[in-house]
């Protein structure tokens, strides 16, 4: 048992990170080798995450096949991100192995978050993630925007952590427990409109607000564009994928285990917040000139779709949100991944107009961006269409017809700014220097083209989410 436990990915990664920090101290000049070791570490822990066959529910921590698959997805995601990041950092001459070790600590934080079965462990996971994100955002010391972003995120993040703790203490105070299952038992028996009931509702609202901040959902979205813009593209890639998946799972677990009997409270909150994010994300993106800010608003509206379908509290909605989360992560990885690969006048891509004329100099990359943008806009046959399709289907099955009309109108509006990017790439002419690190990156190509291939054969992903759903309901989360 002890030996087995050593191989759960969290522990494996923690030990691995310690060793890599030591190795890096002594092998300062062999960064490429150390990076290979990091990749090896990720591959090994990915292997054990799905082949470990460990599942148990401890008082405050659980491991199950569902979580193992999600951890596998998280590790896979970081593997891809590291792949993009490495080239980007080498190009910018700021390669430091610390960047990767800190990212791995963040990855461990996300794993702890999704495995937590107690509110305090959840808090620990979130803090571990946030601390590493503070460091990563401020990584680019030379840029004032980066420092500004780091301070902003630190102050706001600390405040939201405080709100989270406040919510947790309210829940603890009125239920007497921090364990998910115990809270669930107590919440079940609480009488409606008693003092305890109100206290728990306040607790839920505070916890939800804090998690919404981490998720980047409107009206807690103000930090997203600034921080996306200020940090390195590679950090943005990380920010827009791993924490989002983790927070989504945390939402799922919190609402379906401890607070399940409070459906009427949180489902309305989620639907409102989700709809607001879709609207704000779609409309505010229209005037953005900076591609990172544009993608930030696009992320806000995408997260809105996830939260909205989660708030429906139906099987359809749950599956739709799972599906959408995976699709969104793939798309975000691809779109930011492409931007890490392209530079303009030997600095990174900042403005949309920096991409002008890409189709003539680098047609291959232009096709990749075309695919990712169309997928984000939800145009068939890309996978983004299927994701939006099942969200809308879930909405209609729950008889939210007007809401679904509003959602599709917002997708039309958001299609405008994705088209603007395509327009810049294909129709605008410019003579400035656009360069790419390599003519074709296999990982990037697979990542982007998978959006098209999965769109034509969407049942693979659909079967995966159905399988996850089965796991969710047969075994407890």
């Amino acid at each position: 048992m002890i030996i087995n436990l050593f191989f759960i990915p969290e522990i494996l990664l923690s030990f691995g990170v310690m060793i890599i920090i030591l190795i890096d101290l002594f092998l300062q000049n062999y960064k490429a080798v150390t990076f290979k070791l990091i990749q090896l570490l990720l591959i090994v822990s990915a292997y054990y995450s799905i082949n470990g066959q460990i599942s148990f529910t401890h008082e405050s921590y659980d491991l199950s096949e569902f979580l193992n698959i999600l951890k596998f997805i998280l590790i896979l995601g970081s593997f891809i991100i590291f792949h993009y990041t490495y080239k980007h950092l080498v190009y910018l001459n700021t390669l430091k192995i610390e960047y990767f070790t800190i990212s791995i600590l963040g990855l461990i934080g996300t794993m702890i978050m999704i495995s937590a079965h107690s509110l305090l462990i959840l808090y620990l996971g979130i803090e571990l993630l946030s601390l590493s994100l503070y460091a990563l955002i401020g990584f680019n010391k030379k840029s004032s925007l980066s420092s500004e972003a780091a301070i902003k995120y630190y102050v706001l993040g600390a405040m939201s952590s405080g709100v989270l703790l406040f919510g947790i203490s309210l829940v603890y105070g009125f239920t007497g427990s921090i364990n998910y299952s115990e809270i669930a038992n107590i919440v079940d028996t609480v009488q409606i409109n008693s003092v305890e009931y109100l206290g728990i509702i306040f607790g839920i609202i505070f916890i939800t607000a804090s998690l919404c901040f981490k998720f980047g959902v409107a009206p807690f979205h103000m930090w997203v564009p600034d921080i996306y813009q200020g940090s390195l593209v590679s950090t943005t890639t990380l920010l827009s994928t791993l924490p989002k998946i983790a927070v989504f799972i945390v939402f799922l677990k919190l609402f379906y285990i401890p607070f399940l009997s409070m459906i009427n409270v949180w489902s309305d909150i989620l639907i409102f917040v989700g709809m607001l994010s879709i609207i704000i994300g779609s409309i505010f993106a229209l005037t953005q000139e900076n591609i990172k800010r544009l993608l930030a608003y696009s992320a806000i509206s995408n997260i809105g779709f996830i939260v909205l379908s989660l708030g429906l509290v139906t099987n359809d909605g749950l599956q739709a949100s799972l599906y959408y989360t995976i699709v969104y992560s793939l798309t975000a990885l691809a779109s930011f991944g492409i931007i890490t690969h392209i530079t303009c006048n030997s600095h990174g891509i900042e403005k949309i107009s920096d991409l002008a004329g890409l189709s003539k100099t680098h047609p291959y990359y232009a096709i990749l961006i075309l695919i990712t943008m169309l997928s984000s806009a939800g145009i068939p046959p890309m996978i983004g269409f299927h994701a939006k399709l099942i969200v809308i289907q879930a909405l209609i099955n729950s008889e939210y017809i007007m809401l679904s009309i509003l959602v599709v109108l917002m997708t039309v509006i958001s299609a405008y700014y994705y088209l603007k990017v395509i327009k810049t790439i294909y129709f605008d002419n410019r003579e400035e220097l656009i360069s790419v690190y390599s003519n074709s990156s296999i990982v990037l190509s697979l990542n982007s083209i998978s959006l098209l291939i999965l769109g034509i054969f969407p049942y693979y992903l659909f079967n995966l989410t159905s399988y996850l759903m089965d796991l969710l309901f047969t075994i407890s989360i």
Binding site: I396, V408, L409, I422, F427
Partner: protein, 500 residues
Amino acid sequence: MFDYPILSLLIWLPIIGGLFLVISENMSNKLSEYLTLVITFIILLITINLSINYDYTSDQLQFVERTNWIDGLNIFYFLAVDGISVSLILLTAFINFLIAIYAVSEKYRNKSSFLGYFLILEGLLIGTFTAFDSILFYIFFESLLIPLFLIIGIWGGENRKYATIKFFLYTLFGSVLMLISIIYLSSIAESFAIRDFYSLNLSFNEELFILIAFLIGFGIKIPMWPVHTWLPDAHVEAPTSGSVILASVLLKVGGYGMIRFMLPITTEAGIFLSEYMIYLSLIAIIYISFVAYAQDDMKKLIAYSSVAHMGFVTLGIFLVFHLLDSNLTAAVIGLEGAIIQMISHGLISAALFFSIGIIYKHSKSRLLKDNYGISMYMPIFSFLMLFFLMANSGLPGTSGFVGEFLVITSSLGSNIIIGLLAATSLLLSASYSLKLGKNVLFGENIKNTQGYNECNTNEIIVLISLVIFILYLGLTPDYLFQIIDHTTINIIDSINLGRR
């Protein structure tokens, strides 16, 4: 009947060939031309073979291919053809073959991608006309926008950025509303197959909302007045071949969708609203004809004339609603007229846009005032173009006459005023067509500053083959009638089935 999946072949051969051409940017022009010619020719042969083997005495769907696509959502990869599909596939394959021939003699930057996008478009169009699962239909319907967006945007005129985005957003807006009604219908029918929607028991209000969504979706595509404004912009900016495919096939997707979705699904609401929809069609026919007359840009003139002619298609379709209770024969005639009008307009508008493309190639201007006296230097071309203009105005003996005649006959079956108003089109379309012919083809042009020169062989082949088919359909429309006859009656039957 067939060992190989013929419809899948028709869809995926051009798409895969097109993707190959798009990706291989450095392919030599010659090779890409040959590849496109061969692929479009094979597709044409297969479609002809299909139309010969199509059993037009049967009411059943034919060449059915049906496999599970997305299990959990009950979405099928469901392809089949009926008479309307066969006629429209034939049109698609024929026009694309002509475009391939025409493109051989043209110069384009990055030609292999240009041809590749057209091949992709052909595959998607055939997919749209053969999909019998609503989500599959929607996917093809919506994907059509991508290659056309790129064709107009990359190879288009000066104002192309505005035109492409307008066109894309307009059509996207229409189609997302349609998507919602499709999902709503499927949530009731628990299936996405289009035919399962026909027998649903919808309340009147549900039908009304679904009808309006479909009307917006397909009405923008066709386009109907007042949502037609994207079409002239898109046409003016598109390269010649882009205009051809847009006018001759893409607009028909809207009419096809109306016949496939609106007529059988939302019958009651359709009957309720039919009067107003007929007014809309009449406005398109009459008002847009006047607008066409006022244009000084040849392409815009033909674009508006397209809108006016598509008014006949919508009129024929909406007359079915109007006549369903009173005069079933007239309803059948109206629907047949609408279908024939779609096919015939597909040929005539293609011919006119090709002709304008040829003129533009010499004079580099599309304006009426810059082009005059062409007949002095391009006599053969002028003769052919005059013929097309006559066909456009519905001269008896050309295919343009058949469709309009049928629709007008049908409208007389309901109300003489509607019939009279629709018939004014014969006068109005003749006036703007002849205005174009008179100004551009005839007149003194001694200096020939535009550098007019007789067409080359490819262009002559393209135009002559269009002449042959326009005359063929005009003189003996029997074959087309045979193909669509059972299907139209079948559709009218399923409408009545749904009402009971």
